[in-house]
């Protein structure tokens, strides 16, 4: 899978905030890329553009030769549903739903048959190492466990692209490492492309194959990890 981001330009607020200001970036299939930068550097905005949650003001986001900027909102939703899995710093699990239901939710949108869903939920949860407490609510789980659930949910529709926005930001360093180990293993075993936003350079160097540095919405430099 080949993600070729030619150029993105994005204003917001009363004035024009150049959150992402002319970034050109190519991400190869199966690659694990970390986006690094200070807060406000535009890395999360870039991730949202990749996720199809946001549209570029100018420029294009090409995913497998498809320009996300030109897709309708329904097509974008389908792209998010089938091709993208997302993990957030705040986990963003739905508090009223059990673990199983949370993982099942994206498959409801994808109209996966009921019988298959149960099996895929089990499969996804096993991949992230959660086989118990499946009928608990997210609030009854530890942060690490919640992030695993969130990861399982991202995997439910078998995406080719995993987008993680500060996935370790709410976890202690040990748990954070566990999660990133898991992400790397999944990336390798499933051939998934991973784009992770983080500001912890040390973690990024340990897990990512390439580091992309952003500042003031501009691409500053790139570094391939040996």
């Amino acid at each position: 899978m080949n993600t070729d981001n030619v150029c993105r330009y994005y204003p917001m607020g009363g004035g024009v905030i150049r959150a992402v200001d002319g970034v050109s970036l190519t991400i190869d299939r199966g690659e694990f890329v970390a986006l690094l930068g200070q807060s406000g550097s535009g890395k999360s905005t870039l991730l949202n553009l990749l996720a199809g949650l946001d549209r570029p003001t100018s420029g294009s986001v090409l995913v497998q030769d498809r320009d996300l900027a030109k897709l309708s909102s329904e097509e974008l939703a389908r792209y998010r549903r089938n091709d993208v899995g997302m993990v957030f710093q705040a986990f963003h699990l739905i508090p009223s739903m059990t673990i199983t239901e949370n993982v099942e939710l994206p498959m409801r949108f994808a109209e996966v048959e009921r019988a298959e869903r149960a099996q895929r939920v089990r499969e996804s949860l096993e991949r992230v190492g959660l086989g118990h407490r499946l009928e608990h609510r997210p609030s009854e789980l530890s942060g690490g466990e919640q992030q695993r659930v969130s990861l399982a949910r991202a995997l439910a529709n078998r995406p080719r692209l995993l987008l993680a926005d500060e996935p370790t930001g709410n976890l202690d360093s040990r748990t954070g490492e566990d999660i990133l180990n898991l992400v790397r293993d999944l990336s390798l075993s499933l051939g998934m492309t991973v784009v992770m936003v983080t500001h912890e350079r040390a973690l990024a160097e340990r897990f990512a194959q390439r580091l992309v540095f952003l500042g003031d919405g501009k691409l500053l430099s790139q570094e391939v990890v040996a």
Binding site: L53, S73, A77, R78, F88, S96, F109, E111
Partner: protein, 459 residues
Amino acid sequence: MKGYDLFELAVRNLRQSKLRNGLTTVGISVGVASLVAMLSLGVGLQQLATRRLAGSGMFDTVFVTSKQDFRGVDREEDQKDQHPEKAPVLDQPARDKMTHLQYVTEVEPEVRVMGEILYGGQTHFGFVTGLPTSARENEAFDNLQGKFFSGPEADEIILLNDFAKELDPQDPRKLIGQEITLCYGERQALPADSADRPQLSDAQNSGDSASGDNFGFSVVRKTQVLKVVGIVQEEPYGGMRTVSRGRIFLPVDLTEKLSMAQFTDMRSSLRGGGGKTYMTLTVRVKDPGKVAEVQDAINKMGFRTFSVLDATKSLRRFFTVLDLFLGIFGSLALAVATLAIINTLVMAVLERRREIGVMKAIGASDTDVKRLFFAEAGAMGFFGGLLGIALGFAIGKAINLGTGIYLHRHQLPSEAVWILPPWLIGAAIGFSIAVSLLAGLYPASRAARLDPVQTLKYE
């Protein structure tokens, strides 16, 4: 998203804030209940009125008069008829013709003559009315004391209760079974006419129309002994009769057999045309639905007709307006409930901003989000509708109970003024859902428009 997933998610979302959504649903149900109660009251009243009219025996009846009589009753029609004096008269051939019309079961003349009852050495004056055998079905005979006539020409008599009291103030019921004497005027053809015994129709029909100027008859006082068989509280067909109340009832065929002289005989003698004519013929139709058809056929024969159908036209218009007003009043509560739905859902959108953002991030389309809120609104409408029907049913039962007690106190038979027809149940639930969906329009589109990037921002 598939329908059952949508429904499942909607219901589980509704259950998240049970109190709020429950209250909103109860609000809807109150709205539906008031609508249902009002509309079924309308339906009930209409059925009550129709039932009353049907019981009066007027629904299957066409009253026929000649256009020569009662001129000026319908001016518009009179203007169309430039020569009413040439209009056909209600004579025996016309009557026979009507009898043979399709759907007609009987054609009886309206007989109303003056008579006197000799009883206990005293005379009592009263109008005598002839009744056809079909009158047995009339609601006036629902609480008849004694029996109805045993045959169409039986020498029997039924008295109005008031009149019976006049005859025997102590115990009018004792009259039943007794014989009384009726004095009446018999119409006899003039000796110039061929027949001695005035066999009415025969006698007059054989009269030469050329010698019409000689037409005339004499009225001779006669008496007839009759057996009282029953006492009735009110006059049957009372509403459609001429001013004076009939107090003495005989089988109509008997009155004809006895050749009782009627007022109209005077008129026909003045007209000089010849034979006996009727002032009014009462045509009974097999099926109330065919009244219009029969009425039409008789109109074509050149007679003036009147049926309750004409009256029910305005009655139906009245009930349409009544239903409309009841519906509007009933809808008011539902309109308020609609605002409650909008409020509840807008609150839900605000509360669930984050959740909506998450759903979009993991693949929900704008349409999915919109449909989810619609489903929630619809579900509230559905459950509110069900509850509302139950509530409306209870209110209706209470209305019926209340009117029942009221009517009972006034010594009247109880009536169901409130009727819930099955179509109204379906319509109410459907309407409730439709209104709820309408109310969900704004919150749903608001939810669908939410920008996931904004809602997912880390606080």
